[in-house]
């Protein structure tokens, strides 16, 4: 970000997850110390080893009122469309566009980008083929012959990984630079960072960045459980007794634009994007480096990109997914950058579960709120910090950030590590 004088600011945000369908509602949950992780309702968990999740409670028509649209989107798309359109609404961009003439409007649309981090695929959508397999008695020729009689013609369109991108685009006529990032947990946070970079690089004047995912489904729970990644209760990041993560579901979104544009149209500025880093640990799909190598390098890149020293950072929103290996290596990686002067650390997965593709962007939205409120919510489920990282400054109690700048860390399969620095308040 160093070779450009332009500042990139956040002028809108939106979120939906098990802890609420607005920034205010989710903030209340974070401050209350009451997790939204609870026995799930989407299927009968009685015979299941894992019986809890953080489910979105709002019904479909509340989130996306357009009845027709539901025929061509899936549950995760519904979350993404809701959050993205809230971020647009919150930014006042459409009111601004409404004041433009015809040619200016066309130019505005061509210079408005949309970058979405998507969970990719899901297992459940493929179950639409199960009645067909049944009908075809497991024979492929019959499967082919009966296909159109058994499965909706819209099946592929309903399940495109880039659905949120196209529907939010069509509905808002945002025709500029775009991408759909399918980088597992890193998807949503990368959408924010790539958006800021694209505006700095003059590829667009403003971009809506969104991330959405609905990982909570039977097969996902089963495999995470088999791999030893799943807890039976709300996650306890950095606790000595942590034993895994729990799924949430939902989406978050932000509107980013040039500070000069935001000022000119009198927009409400939520915060500023200061820099980012991104790297892989080259460890394959599931493994990670125990020494926090990727965390360290991503954070150092972000500090360098933002032109900041570790001592400038006022708080850290950690990935803290509650699994033993990830939390330990994350704390070690943070320690390698900050030494014995680590700013207060928190993480939000105890409250709304792990949103996978949407986790990093949800954490950014709530970190901006924490900076605005000058309050760092504690990790409410934390009882005793792991002895191996006993000096790690994480607590169950709320505290004040030591400056208006925050570091958000997001980690994912593929050895991915992404760090973003924002300021607010």
């Amino acid at each position: 970000m160093s070779n450009c004088d332009e500042k990139i600011v956040f002028t809108g945000s939106g979120i939906v997850c098990g802890a609420g369908a607005s920034v205010d509602d989710v903030w209340s949950t974070l401050i209350s110390g009451e997790t939204s992780v609870a026995p799930y309702t989407q299927w009968d968990g009685e015979k299941w080893p894992v019986k809890v999740a953080s489910e979105v409670k709002e019904n479909n028509r509340t989130l996306v009122p357009d009845r027709k649209l539901h025929k061509t989107i899936s549950r995760t798309d519904m979350f993404g469309i809701y959050a993205a359109e809230k971020a647009v609404e919150n930014s006042g961009l459409l009111e601004h566009r409404g004041e433009l003439g015809e040619e200016e409007t066309a130019a505005f649309n061509d210079r408005t980008g949309l970058i979405v981090g998507s969970g990719g695929g899901n297992y459940t959508s493929n179950y639409d083929y199960l009645p067909l397999i049944h009908e075809a008695k497991g024979e492929l020729p019959a499967f082919g012959k009966e296909l159109s009689a058994q499965v909706t013609p819209m099946w592929l369109l309903k399940n495109l990984p880039n659905n949120v991108l196209c529907h939010v685009g069509i509905r808002g006529q945002f025709k500029g630079t775009n991408a759909c990032i399918t980088n597992q947990c890193a998807s949503g946070i990368m959408a924010v960072a790539e958006s800021a970079s694209a505006i700095l690089n003059d590829e667009a004047d403003r971009i809506i960045a969104a991330g959405h995912d609905a990982p909570f489904e039977p097969e996902m729970v089963l495999y995470y459980h088999k791999l030893g990644l799943m807890s039976g209760e709300a996650p306890r990041p950095f606790d000595e007794a942590r034993n895994g993560t729990v799924f949430g579901e939902g989406a978050a979104a932000v509107t980013l634009e040039k500070a000069s544009d935001a000022e000119a149209r009198g927009a409400n500025v939520l915060g500023e994007f200061l820099g980012w880093g991104c790297c892989s640990e080259a460890t394959g799909v599931l493994d990670l480096e125990p020494d926090g190598d990727g965390v360290k390098r991503a954070v150092e890149q972000a500090l360098n990109d933002a032109g900041l020293e570790p001592s400038d950072i006022g708080m850290i929103c950690a990935h803290g997914n509650g699994t033993p290996a990830s939390d330990l290596s994350e704390a070690i990686g943070i320690g390698r950058v900050f030494g014995d002067d680590i700013p207060p650390v928190t993480g939000f997965k105890w409250a709304y579960g792990h949103l996978i593709g949407a986790s990093g962007i949800a954490d950014i939205v709530m970190t901006l709120e924490a900076l605005k409120q000058k309050t760092l919510p504690g990790v409410a489920t934390l009882k005793k910090v792991d002895d191996e990282i006993s000096a790690f400054p994480v607590s169950s109690a709320s505290t004040a950030p030591r400056s208006n700048k925050a570091l958000v860390i997001c980690r994912g399969f593929g050895g991915m590590n992404v760090a973003v620095i924002v300021s607010a308040g």
Binding site: Y129, I133, L157, G169, S280
Partner: protein, 438 residues
């Protein structure tokens, strides 16, 4: 628009696995010979489907390219293509990440569709259905044979995880999916990461394989595939008036991208400069491209602008040209708008006429084709063309490849969902002489 000098990015390595060749030289030779990759589908019994043929990769053995059984255990068919094409690209470039510079190497991939394999779904059917309907209790039963390897293969960034590990890439890494535009957008994302200084070297490409019962079902349901079951080799006929849908292909394409000065300093062979990326959203319909080209036009114009050239400097367009009625008409409208008075001069072809449509890999494979076209001064031809369509009256290269120096080549990828990606490649001689840099 950008005032400061943009960092120059060289293409120094190419790797391909396509329905007409399991490496880049074979694919390129067969494109020039007009060989067609489509035939009756062999990998499963497709006789009951409305389309019974496809353009499959033939006789592919991933272990030849990647002698790493532990890695390949976690690789799906499309990941195998990706590992092989990436290995070829790196070998071709004569460079690979080392302990000293692995953090300056990046990866950008256009990842294929994430649908579950039919065999895995059959296992769910066998254990967890009641009268054909899903019953979650069946999954929770200890007898359900949950295989974590399948789970790993199916992760949205599994390809990224395998590629970064196999080649030791430790820098910026991204995985994108905008349907048929994925490969082009991945290469464009790589260019941006190089230009903003996040990497000095990148492996960029795409991979896909939807030739399986579930993958092909999605397209059959939409009626997007050609149903010329008695003439597979003639089915993909982009821009022909009688075109009736695309031919599903599979494969992978990868490029090695390198800081221009570093490539020159080490005496690397430079195929082309990856000079410009353009990217727009049509905001029209999910499956159709707008008839007037509004959307693709902006992507092409941005790519030219980003490359610092104009329509006057382009000698060859590798069209998206899927052989569907709507795509080809929309793309030609865009080309006519952008090239205006030069539309009769600029050579255009869709190599999908030979390879079929490689979906998420298409843009990356066709980017490689542009680089090879520039190197050899040969525009590949648009095969299977018979009946002209007045809506598609662009200057198609027909019947045989056309020799002639190519100063700059444009590659278009237009995806389901309306994402449009255009890439501009420049001849290294043009870059050095500052020709066409006005």
């Amino acid at each position: 628009m950008a005032s400061q000098e943009k960092r120059k990015v060289a293409v120094t390595g190419i790797g391909l696995v396509t329905p007409i060749g399991n490496d880049a030289p074979t694919t390129w030779a067969n494109l020039q010979a007009g060989k067609n990759g489509a035939a009756t589908t062999q990998s499963f019994d497709a006789s009951g489907f409305s389309t019974t043929f496809s353009a499959e990769v033939k006789d592919f053995d991933p272990e030849t390219a990647v002698p790493n059984p532990k890695m390949l255990k976690y690789a799906s068919r499309s990941h195998g293509f990706a590992l092989a094409a990436a290995a070829e690209a790196l070998a071709d470039a004569g460079i690979a990440p080392t302990d000293e510079d692995s953090h300056r190497w990046g990866l950008a991939v256009g990842a294929g569709m994430m649908s579950v394999a039919y065999d895995d779904l059959k296992v769910v059917y066998d254990h967890a259905t009641d009268d054909g309907y899903f019953d979650s209790d069946g999954l929770a039963d200890p007898s359900f044979p949950a295989n974590p390897v399948n789970f790993c293969r199916w992760q949205s960034n599994a390809g990224l995880g395998l590629l970064t590990k196999q080649f030791g890439i430790r820098g910026y890494s991204t995985s994108v999916h905008t349907a048929c535009a994925s490969g082009g957008q991945a290469v464009g994302s790589a260019l941006k990461a190089m230009r903003r200084g996040q990497c000095d070297y990148m492996l960029a490409g795409g991979f896909d394989s939807m030739i399986n019962p579930i993958g092909i079902s999605g397209f059959c349901l939409l009626g997007a595939l050609s149903t010329d079951n008695d003439n597979p080799a003639g089915a993909s006929r982009p821009f022909d008036k009688t075109r009736n849908g695309f031919v599903l292909g599979e494969g992978a394409g990868f490029l090695v991208l390198e800081d221009w000065d570093k490539a020159v300093a080490r005496g690397a062979t430079i195929y082309a400069e990856l000079a410009g990326d353009g990217n727009s959203l049509s905001c029209y319909r999910i499956t159709d491209s707008p008839p007037d080209g509004n959307g693709p036009i902006q992507a092409i114009e941005q790519a030219l602008g980003d490359a610092g050239i104009t329509a006057a400097d382009v000698d060859y367009v590798n069209a998206h040209g899927t052989s569907t009625q709507m795509n080809d008409r929309s793309e030609c409208a865009a080309l006519k708008h952008v090239f205006a008075g030069r539309v009769d001069e600029v050579k255009v072809s869709s190599t999908k006429s030979c390879t079929g449509h490689l979906i998420a890999a298409a843009g990356a494979v066709e980017a490689a084709v542009c680089c090879l076209s520039i190197r050899d001064g040969i525009a590949p031809f648009n095969a299977n063309y018979g009946e002209p369509d007045p809506d598609c009256d662009v200057n198609l290269v027909l019947e045989k490849p056309q020799p002639g120096r190519i100063r700059a080549a444009l590659s278009n990828s237009l995806g389901f969902g309306g994402s449009n990606s255009s890439l501009v490649f420049r001849n290294p001689e043009s870059v050095n002489s500052k020709e066409a840099n006005s």
